[in-house]
Amino acid sequence: MRFALDLHIHTLLSPCAGIEMIPVNIVRRVQEVGIDIMAVTDHNAVGNAESVIKSALKYAPGLGVFPGIEVTSKEEVHILGILPSVESARKLESMIHSHLVNPPVKDSLAEQLIVDEDANFIRYEEHFLMGATDFSVEEVSDLIHSFDGIVIPAHIDRESFGLIYNLGLFPPDLEVDAVEVSKFAKESTLVNLRRLIPPDVPVLFSSDAHFLDDIVPPRSFLELMDKSFDSLKEALKNYGYVRNHKTGG
């Protein structure tokens, strides 16, 4: 079956995301715009992933939600890890947290909210999520893979925290399952990027939504057996292609 994907969505746990990014708002909007499978990817944290998964069961039945994380490498490159379970996401998170190098800046923690599926406050995340880890991009990739996760360098077309902008070239030893470009990337940008990345790596479009209005109709579609994590992983590995609505695939 053909499923629409958006594997990069923040919640109110990310300091730079809007307070409206509570689980129920996210899952309803995501379903409304026609996305079948999403991932929760806060900066260096997974604290709201389970709540979004539970919220989907309650308020957006049928929507596939995977736990994920947007890790900041020591080169200040953003890399998405999509994980098979909340448990593996939590284990990965604890490794990430012990490698965050920046101490909290004043008042920053008050913006890092962990809530339940009905948006009741649970706690503040005490690690400063906007800082970087001391893991290189390769180490981030290996770490995510060690938890059977999917590795996707985020918004490689962008100037802030993008792989190509920060590192100039695609690192020769970096193992990825896909790369992400922003949902507004132009065809000319894609043509240029294609020449910079290994030929068999799928390119995914994601919203990187920080506010509800950032959640827009999907641009990436994959043929999957079902909405399971394993099917997604298989599809990225084997088919290695993504249709986008412009070229029609």
Binding site: E75, S136, V137, I164, Y165, N166, L167, G168, L169, P171, P172, D173
Partner: protein, 111 residues
Amino acid sequence: MTFRELLGNLPLENLGDDFDLDKSPRGGYVGDLLSNVMRFAKEGNVWITVQTHINVIAVATLVGISGIIFPCGVEPPEETIKKAREEHIALLTTKLDAFTLCGKIYELGIR
């Protein structure tokens, strides 16, 4: 002014015994975002950066950088040093911050 002379004049440390220090850098560039360095650094420049990823050497080779100085006590990983040896790019480190380092090497005549 060669890298060897820079070492003699400033609190720098050589990161490899076999680097060719008798090259003289022509001007310099400061930058940590490698795409920016690829665009704006010039052949023969000494490059000042806190970026230590192995891609630094690939970019230095593309541009024709003569040597790299890591400020703030930053030291690159072994794989970066190894690659620098292969590509004959001298690597130095210093406790000075980037601003102070630039000022001092500029004063010494590299510009």
